[in-house]
């Protein structure tokens, strides 16, 4: 049962130094029972440093971390670490059988043999690795090894589960299957979890809330919907893949509908900012629809821009179309759409997007 009154973990004014140059500084974060917080950020943002500090493996310079209302400074290191479980990017399995690996943490805690057997059998089934029970860890595939690593942590029934990019080394099908299983298990066991990743898809998939960590600071923490649709500033927006960030100002504001001037073009957005306010006009490339100028149908989208294709490039399964609309605009479309539109550089096209797809960041 999630209680919003008593957080499982509370971080306040935490300062952690690593090396002479890097400082992690977290003002205030509360994590509640059964909640999965996904912390996303680029390499070097301080994600792993935060996790090591939360594991009491790195000393904080200032501030406090409380677990179930008790400062971790007041809890002996070993006692604290036996309330948490840590899963790192690499499975780091011991050179022994799968069973012995999963039993490691339980044996460290001096748990009886019968209980160890019972708990391991339960988690072998839950993670679909019963058939690997007696196999040497060295003979496991990457996905199997990470499943064992997760079983080894979850069998401990931790108060707080810390996951440091556990899927980053896995191929897509293996990752998707393991993420699906993990999401079900975290929900079923209501395990309070901090999940570190640099992958937005993983964060969206697993996180009840998402924290964006940039340059050692949490820039934004909110529901996945809010973080991705309403980034707090241009740095967060940039990191989240909002590539169209255009400077403009509010020309008009009536009944929550605003008219924004972007490089001389008038575009609509939803919001309540004062007239004259300087803003960044943000729209995700995938929210923009590309049309052949001749075939442009009547659309309910409030914003329409004409432009010329300057370049086309591959972006994963999609195609990125760079346009010149008087200012640069990036559009992402499927390969099938690109083929259907028969687009090529230099071609005149038309774009539309809804006012509700626009996010304004005050300047």
């Amino acid at each position: 049962m999630t209680s919003r009154e008593h957080p499982v973990l509370k971080i306040k004014n935490l300062q952690v130094s690593r090396g002479s140059e890097f400082n992690l500084s977290i003002n205030h974060v509360e994590i509640y029972a059964g909640e999965v917080i996904a912390i996303i950020g680029p390499n070097g943002a301080g994600k792993s440093t935060l996790l090591l500090a939360l594991s009491k493996l790195l000393e904080a310079k200032a501030g406090s971390i409380s677990l179930r209302g008790k400062s971790i400074e007041q809890i002996a290191d070993l006692e604290y670490r036996r309330q948490i479980a840590l899963v790192l990017q690499e499975p780091l399995l011991l050179d022994t059988s799968v069973f012995n690996n999963i039993a490691a943490g339980l044996r460290f805690r001096g748990i009886s043999k019968s209980e160890i057997n019972q708990r391991i059998d339960e988690w072998l089934i839950k993670l679909n690795i019963s058939h690997l029970k007696d196999r040497p860890a060295s003979q496991l595939s990457g996905g199997q090894a990470q499943r064992v690593s997760l079983a080894r942590a979850m069998v401990l029934k931790p108060t707080l589960l810390l996951l440091d990019e556990p899927f980053s080394a896995l191929d897509t099908p293996t990752r998707m299957s393991l993420m699906q299983d993990l999401r079900n298990l975290l929900s079923e066991t209501a395990t309070t979890t901090i999940f570190i990743t640099h992958d937005q898809e993983q964060a969206l998939f697993l996180g009840d809330r998402i924290a964006v960590l940039l340059d050692g600071k949490i820039a934004q923490i909110d529901s996945p919907q809010n973080v991705f649709s309403s980034p707090i500033d241009t740095t967060v927006a940039n990191f989240l893949g909002i590539e169209n960030i255009l400077p403009g100002y509010v020309m008009d504001n009536r009944d929550g509908k605003m008219l924004i001037d972007v490089e001389g073009k008038q575009l609509e957005a939803i919001g309540k900012l004062p007239i004259g306010k300087d803003v960044f006009f943000c729209v995700r490339p995938e929210e923009i629809i590309l049309w052949n100028t001749a075939d442009m149908p009547k659309s309910s989208a409030r914003n329409q821009l004409d432009g010329q294709i300057t370049s086309i490039s591959n972006k994963g399964p999609l195609q990125q179309i760079n346009l010149d609309c008087g200012f640069p605009l990036i559009v992402l479309i499927t390969r099938a759409s690109a083929q259907e539109l028969d687009i090529e550089p230099g071609m005149e096209v038309c774009t539309t997007f809804k006012a509700s797809a626009v996010h304004l960041i005050p300047r």
Binding site: S55, L57, L88, L94, D95, F108, P136, S138
Partner: protein, 236 residues
């Protein structure tokens, strides 16, 4: 060539006949070198582990010192141990000079830097995050240490073999602190030196073959344990 052949024949005859003097020398060799290796392991393993896992200023200098210790000439160690154990020396009143105990001390000093150095190397080749992972699973410092030793057991066995190999084959220190006294401190290496100086090459070669055979047997035993572990690690 004839001398070598005679030596090989003599070695087999000495082993088959069960010559009591040869057996006594062989037994003392194993006792002294085995004890010295065991003590160097007891001292070197924890020190090596501590040095491998801790970060402090001057660590590099200390590592260089240990690595130098790995190449210390046994005769120099024999000289220093003799100075300390001579009747007029600081520990002269213990009456250890020219006893097997003195030889154990000298050989321990020879083997310990080797065990420390190779323990450091063995633990440093493990993934540095493994220690953090074990701590993150709730292991105490002692549990982490044992788990890391288990993970590094193959190179640690190599450290043990190297330590034993260095002391069973050394002659300078044993000669200086043991004195090569018949029935008391004579070990295979010092006996070989003595027989060679007397011109009894056949016996010297025979003793050399016995020494090699013992070294081989001990290392065969340790290697078979090591390789069993290595085979288990191989991915099928």
């Amino acid at each position: 060539m004839q001398v070598i052949w005679e030596g090989i024949k003599e070695a087999f005859l000495l082993i088959i006949r069960g010559d009591p003097e040869i057996w006594a020398i062989t037994w003392l060799t194993l006792k002294v070198s085995g004890t010295a290796t065991a003590i160097s392991l007891i001292i070197g393993l924890p020190i090596g582990t501590w040095l491998a896992l801790r970060r402090f200023s001057g660590r590099g200098c200390l590592f260089s010192f240990i690595n130098t210790g790995m190449a210390f000439p046994p005769v120099v160690i024999g000289l220093w141990v003799s100075i300390f154990l001579w009747r007029s020396g600081p520990f002269g009143n213990l009456g250890l000079i020219y006893t097997p105990a003195a030889m154990v001390i000298a050989q321990t000093i020879i083997a310990t830097p080797i065990v420390i150095g190779l323990t450091i190397a063995a633990l440093q080749q493990l993934n540095p995050y493994l220690r953090l992972q074990l701590l993150g699973l709730g292991a105490s410092s002692l549990q982490v240490t044992f788990a890391l030793w288990r993970e590094a057991r193959l190179p640690l066995l190599a450290a043990l073999m190297a330590g034993f190999g260095s002391v069973i084959s050394e002659v300078g220190a044993s000669m200086m602190v043991g004195g090569n006294i018949k029935d008391q401190t004579r070990v295979l290496t010092t006996a070989i030196v003595l027989e060679t100086s007397k011109g009894r090459f056949t016996i010297a070669i025979a003793l050399g073959i016995i020494l090699l055979f013992i070294a081989y047997l001990v290392n065969y035993f340790l290697t078979s344990i090591q390789q069993r572990g290595a085979q288990n690690r191989e991915v099928q």
